[in-house]
Each structure stands twice: as structure tokens, then as C-alpha cells.
């Protein structure tokens, strides 16, 4: 058992770090701000979400054994049951083993605040902030076990908005979610709405944030990029248009460019188009693509068809293509990543209102890499098959939630064989309890190898008048038996660990029409 009284004491002891003070200050500031805003605006609403987690992991550490103790010949030999790598002329052979258990206790506090109607129709201020502290284990030497563990305050979004029937204007930290992905920026946007066909035209721009995170690329969090870290932020700007000519048709096109503020070149320049058409209630047709103008290469593309040919049966078919996109501020674009193309077929069955099954299969094929592989070759194919089941019966006066899934994947990259099951019950409208079981085996890229990881966990969730409180705990146990002779393969890092999470979210502001 990995959680001992001693380790819990260590977690507690770390609470006394200076970061605790910052976290407490963040809580206090956030709390106080709610009261202050009430004085400034006629209406406001806030959503507060807090989670505290406990996560264990074992680092890989390099170890060595005397070359004379190794059995066999060649680069890979055995020392006891451990596979080691030996080099000619070196008196030691090397291997990796699991290090000490490291743990992290990240605490995240999200506060989203809406203040509106300052006496002006459609005027709103919105702020979304994240306070974070990571009480990491000192045994792994630094505080970056949890991503962004030392970034204690983040402004996810914060803008002043004027929203009318024909236009919407925003100033502040805003973001754009589209076929190009998630991009944040400090600047402004303006949307003009042309009603007859629900056409929207948008222009947006400002100083860009790094992709997928609300931080400038010049911030300290990217310092380990070294010489590749840009010294100046990018300008980001773009244009978006969308239309909904009929209630069952949507189309969007977007163009976006990022350029360094010294205008020394282009970082990214891309366009994307998305379209959806629902010609009949039971039929859906979706298409999307994006093109990288900076490299002159196509990125993602897809065509999805969904058809419910019986009220209880539906089918889905997808054709897709994927090629990753990198900024021209990295060298990765010069390494010529190749795309893959593939298809996915899925079939869903809902024999009863409370019972649903789905099975699916998928195949990918990568393009020609022209790499030339004299020493090592991998496949350029990938297969996946999976299925899910959901059952929500009412029995013995209780509503049950039973969800299970299984998938197997083989081909390029990881090979995985995984299943999970959750049995939940809701003895009360506001209370749910769940017991969950998982098992998986991952080969190659993740060295669970021939062993298996078993997971057993539970969760509880209570939705109150004010919000929701929840708790979950999971225990993972790594069975490292690989044969009758070797019951515990020392060459495979032990993956056994505990994980636990506690969360609380609640709402502030009045709304009698809202039911819990």
C-alpha cells in the first residue's frame, strides 16, 4: 500500500510552503471580489470550482550493473531477470528501474464571474481566473510534476462585452475556438450579425498567447525552450465568417495569422472550413478541412455521415485525414511530418430507452515517410476496435448508472488492450455513488509490457442547492508477472499507485428559476 500515514504527513508538511500563502491569498482575493462586484453592478453571477487531487507516479531512474555480471552477448543481456544494455568497452551495463514514489497534490480554484447590465443593454464583464498550487513531492527534485504547478494565478479570459442583436464587441483577454484549435489573445473582437441567413462576420486580433494555454510564449514557463523561445510575443489576428442559411445547415470559414511583433516573419498562417448539414432529422453530414498557408500543406480533413435508420439503431461512417501543425518558430516543420488517412465505422443500438450499445472499428494508414530505415522499421498501419454499453435501469427503488467500455489498438505507436466498468447508483436525486473497475495492458511505448494494470475505485457526488461536491479515489495495481518463472519483472517499472480527488463547485448570485 503506497499511501502510508507517513506519506500523508509529508503532504501535510508541504502545506507550509510559501505557495500555500499564495493559494490562500488567491482564495481570499477571489472571495472578497465577489462582494465588491455586488456593489458595482446591478447583477452578477459567479461560478466557483475547486478541486484538490492526490496523484502518485514513479519516475524512471537509470541504474547500472557490472558488465561481468551480465549473461549473454550483444548489446542486450540479462543480469538476473533484468534486461540491461551493454556497450563495448564499458565495464557497466545500464538499465532503467522505477524510482521512489513521487506524489503531487495539485489544488485548483477556478472562479468565473459575470457582471452585467451596468444600466446598458447587453453590456457585460466576464472574468475567468484559475488559481493553482502544486504541493509536489520533493523527492523528484522540482515542482513541475504537475503541469504549471508553479503558475499560481492565470487569467483564462477577461473581457468587457457589448452584445446587441446585430453585433457583439469585446475588449480584453479573449479566445477563439475553431477548426484551427484554441487560441487566446489580448485584444479585441467585433462580430457583425446579418440576420436573414444568420450570417456572422468577425474580425479579431491582439497580442497572441501560446496555443492551448493562457500564457504568453515569452513567459518563464517556456524558458526551457532555450534558444527556441521567442523573445517577443506574436501578433495574432484573423477573420471568421459563419452562416446558417437554413435551420439545419451551418458553415464556417476562418483565416488566422500569427506574426512576431518585430515582423521578422510568419509564425503560423492557416485557414479552415467547417460545414454541417442535417437534411433530415435522421441524417447528418459533416465536413471539415484546414490548410497551412505557411507550409503549403493540407492539415486535417474529415467527412462524417450519421444515419439513424431505425429509432433504435444508428450508424456512423467517417473518413479522415490528419497532419500535425507546428509553428514556424520551431524546427519541427522542417522535419516533414507525414499525414495519415483513415476510416471509422460505428453502429449504435438502443433497444430500450435505458439501454445503449455501440461498437466501432477504425483504421489508419500513414503516408510515405521516405525515411529509409536500415536498422529499425515500424508499421505504417493502425487498427482499433472498441465498444461501449450504457444501462440506466431503475431497480429496488434506485436509479442505476452502468457504463462499460473496451478497446483494443494495435499498429503504429502504442498497442493497448483496455476495459473499464462503472456501476453507479443514485439513491437520491442529488446523490450518486459509483464503483469502478479498470484493467489494461499496454505494450511497446508504455512498458506495462506483458503484465497488467488493475484499477479499482469509487466515487461519490452530491449535488446540493448551492452546487456540487464530489470525491473519488482509485487504486492501480501493476501485476508484473510475465511468465511462470518470473512473477515480477524487475525490468518493468512498477506502475502501482493511488490517485484521489476532491472537488467542490458552487454558484453565487440569485436565480430562483434554477433547480439544483
Amino acid at each position: 500500500m503506497r499511501v502510508s500515514g507517513l506519506s500523508l504527513m509529508r503532504v501535510g508538511a508541504r502545506l507550509q510552503g510559501w505557495r500555500t500563502g499564495v493559494a490562500l491569498l488567491a482564495v481570499a482575493v477571489g472571495w472578497a471580489s465577489w462582494g465588491a462586484t455586488g456593489l458595482l453592478a446591478q447583477q452578477w453571477r459567479a461560478r466557483v470550482s475547486t478541486s484538490v487531487q492526490y496523484v502518485e507516479a514513479r519516475a524512471l531512474v537509470r541504474d547500472s550493473a557490472r558488465e561481468s555480471s551480465a549473461v549473454g552477448s550483444g548489446r542486450q543481456r540479462l543480469v538476473g531477470d533484468t534486461l540491461v544494455t551493454c556497450s563495448a568497452g564499458d565495464s557497466f551495463c545500464y538499465f532503467y528501474r522505477a524510482g521512489e514514489i513521487a506524489n503531487s497534490s495539485p489544488a485548483v480554484l477556478d472562479v468565473a464571474l459575470n457582471v452585467f447590465s451596468f444600466g446598458v443593454e447587453g453590456l457585460r464583464a466576464y472574468v475567468s481566473t484559475r488559481f493553482r498550487n502544486d504541493f509536489s513531492d520533493g523527492t523528484i527534485g522540482n515542482d513541475e510534476f504537475w503541469p504549471l504547478g508553479d503558475v499560481h494565478v492565470e487569467l483564462l479570459a477577461g473581457f468587457l462585452e457589448l452584445n446587441r442583436q446585430s453585433f457583439r464587441a469585446r475588449v480584453g483577454r479573449d479566445y477563439q475556438v475553431s477548426g484551427l484549435g484554441f487560441y487566446g489573445y489580448d485584444g479585441g473582437s467585433f462580430i457583425y450579425r446579418f440576420s436573414p441567413y444568420k450570417i456572422e462576420l468577425e474580425a479579431y486580433g491582439g497580442w497572441g498567447l501560446a496555443r492551448g494555454v493562457p500564457l504568453p510564449i515569452t513567459s518563464d514557463e517556456f524558458a526551457t525552450l532555450g534558444v527556441f523561445q521567442p523573445t517577443e510575443r506574436d501578433y495574432l489576428f484573423g477573420f471568421r465568417s459563419s452562416a446558417r442559411p437554413t435551420p439545419n445547415t451551418s458553415i464556417e470559414a476562418i483565416y488566422q495569422r500569427e506574426i512576431p511583433t518585430d515582423r521578422s516573419g510568419i509564425s503560423t498562417e492557416r485557414v479552415a472550413i467547417d460545414a454541417a448539414w442535417y437534411p433530415r432529422r435522421e441524417l447528418s453530414l459533416l465536413a471539415h478541412t484546414d490548410f497551412d498557408l505557411a507550409t503549403g500543406l493540407w492539415g486535417k480533413a474529415g467527412l462524417d455521415v450519421g444515419y439513424r435508420f431505425h429509432p433504435k439503431i444508428y450508424a456512423e461512417g467517417k473518413l479522415f485525414r490528419y497532419r500535425p501543425v507546428f509553428s514556424l518558430q520551431t524546427i519541427w516543420v522542417a522535419f516533414s511530418p507525414v499525414p495519415y488517412t483513415g476510416w471509422n465505422l460505428g453502429l449504435g443500438l438502443e433497444p430500450r430507452n435505458d439501454l445503449a450499445f455501440k461498437v466501432w472499428a477504425e483504421r489508419r494508414a500513414y503516408g510515405e515517410t521516405e525515411a529509409g530505415v536500415p536498422f529499425f522499421a515500424t508499421t505504417n498501419r493502425d487498427w482499433r476496435v472498441g465498444g461501449t454499453v450504457g444501462w440506466r435501469p431503475r431497480a429496488v427503488g434506485v436509479l442505476w448508472d452502468i457504463d462499460g467500455g473496451y478497446w483494443i489498438n494495435w499498429g503504429f505507436g502504442s498497442a493497448i488492450n483496455s476495459g473499464d466498468l462503472r456501476v453507479g447508483m443514485r439513491p437520491h436525486d442529488q446523490l450518486s455513488l459509483g464503483l469502478r473497475l479498470a484493467a489494461f495492458k499496454q505494450l511497446e511505448e508504455f512498458r506495462v509490457g506483458q503484465g497488467r494494470v488493475w484499477g479499482l475505485g469509487g466515487d461519490i457526488r452530491w449535488r446540493t442547492q448551492a452546487g456540487t461536491v464530489w470525491f473519488s479515489v482509485d487504486r492501480y495495481d501493476h501485476n508484473r508477472r510475465i511468465s511462470d518463472e518470473i512473477s515480477e519483472d524487475p525490468a518493468q517499472p512498477d506502475w502501482s499507485q493511488w490517485r484521489a480527488a476532491f472537488g467542490l463547485s458552487y454558484y453565487l448570485g440569485s436565480e430562483p428559476g434554477r433547480a439544483p
Binding site: A59, R75, Y175, L215, S267, G306, I331, N409, D420, E445
Partner: protein, 278 residues
Amino acid sequence: MSLYRASIRALLVVALVAAGAEYGAAQTGQMPKPDFHNTADFLQTHGQTAKADITFCGACHARDYCSRCHVNAYDVPEIQALPSDPDVAAYVAGTEWPAPSTHTPSFLEDHRAVAAGATQSCTTCHVVEEQCLICHLGSETLERPRTVTDVDLYHPYNFMQQHSASVWNQEAECASCHNPWVFCYSCHQTLGYAASDGRTDTGFHNKDPNFSFGHGQAARQGLESCAACHPQENCLQCHSARAGRNINPHGPGFDAEKLASKNQNLCLFCHFSVPGGE
């Protein structure tokens, strides 16, 4: 002493959170209905009241309360002037309201075009800022228990434990929501998964000791995964015209002239001068 102080601080955190929750409960409690809501023609006349001063309605009601009946809510500026209720999408996902026909079984993955083409109609049920950000900006909660009404979770249960297979096969564009440098690299580096001290037969490389000598195919097929552990300097040890082994990394589709025209600094990372340039 230290444990005592830590306990006091932990209790303070709990107390602050609990106090906030209690405050929230007080704020969301039932309030008495105004007298004029009880008039016989209130349902017929409340629109005029709302148009005269929607902020008066907004003292108690959110936009969603109106849109339960007003299906054209997103075309009514007075209703749009109200904020939305973060819980409404959860109600809709349950049994209270039917989901629109666009919400197919794969809608979570395929909602992009509909969301873009009907931004205002989404807000009838969804609080766009909060629900976009929860998924698109990388939730930091691993195993929040979910129920049928949970609509703000993208990854399935146990995903963190198994994410390597999904990442290697690029089943979705991870970098779209998770910046690889801060979400992947820092953790992999800290835990030793990105060690680059010469050993080539780690599990991440198919346990093949010759992986580094023939990794070109794997790298071009899964370059995002490489970048999740390896800094760019690792590659330049061999793939640079300025130092190392001068191994050319350029492959199919590489257009030096085009890239140089877009950003010459990119070339200068590996070359003394822009190839083909002046």
C-alpha cells in the same frame, strides 16, 4: 510544530471554501415571488415589463429561465441581455428537455460547425465561455466522477493512465487544447520519461536498441509524440548543417523556398545562411 502549522493552514483553506459554499447556498435559496407575478394576465403581459426594463427581471432570472418557453430566445435582445445559467446544459442532457436534433451521438466530437454557425442558439442552453474553456483549455481534474448529465468532460474515465496510445495515434489534435510544452514535456521530463543519456531501448521506443539509428519513419509518423519528450536541441545534435552529423531531416512535402519566404529565422536554426537565399 510544522505539522501543527500545516494543519492550521489546511483547516483555514477548508473553512474558506466551506464559508463560500454556505454563502452560495444563501444566495441561491428561495426568495418570495413579487406580488405582480400573481396577476391573472401576468403571462400575457410580462413581455412588456421585460422590454421596459430587462434589468428588473434580471434581478432574479437568468436567460435560460426565459428560453424554457421562448424558443426564439436567441433572437430576443432583452433575453440575450441576461446572463446564462451554467447548469442548464446539464438539465437538458437529462430528461427535462429534449436535445435538439443536431445533437447526434457523436456531437461532442462533431459540434464545431454547428457551434460556429449558430453561436447564439448555443447560448440558449450552454454557458459558452465556461463550457468551452473546461474542455478546450485542458481541464486539470483527472477523475471527476461523472453521471449521465455531465456534459463538461471530454476524456473518458481512466484516460490519463492510458493516454499514450491516444497520443501516439493522434486520435485527436491534443495540442489544440493542451500546449505540449507545459502539459506534456514538463511532466515527462520530471519523471524521467524523456531521459536522453544514451540508452535507446526504453519502452517508449519499442524496446529496440537500434531505435535511434532508424527512427526516421516513427518520427515522421508521430512527430508530436517525439516533441512531447524531446527538446529541439536533441534533434539538432545530428540534424543540423551547423554542427553534429549534418543529417538532413527534410522529407516529403518540404518546400525550402516557401518556408524561407515565410520565416527565414527558421532556416537559420540549422543553417549558417538561408539555403538558396542571398
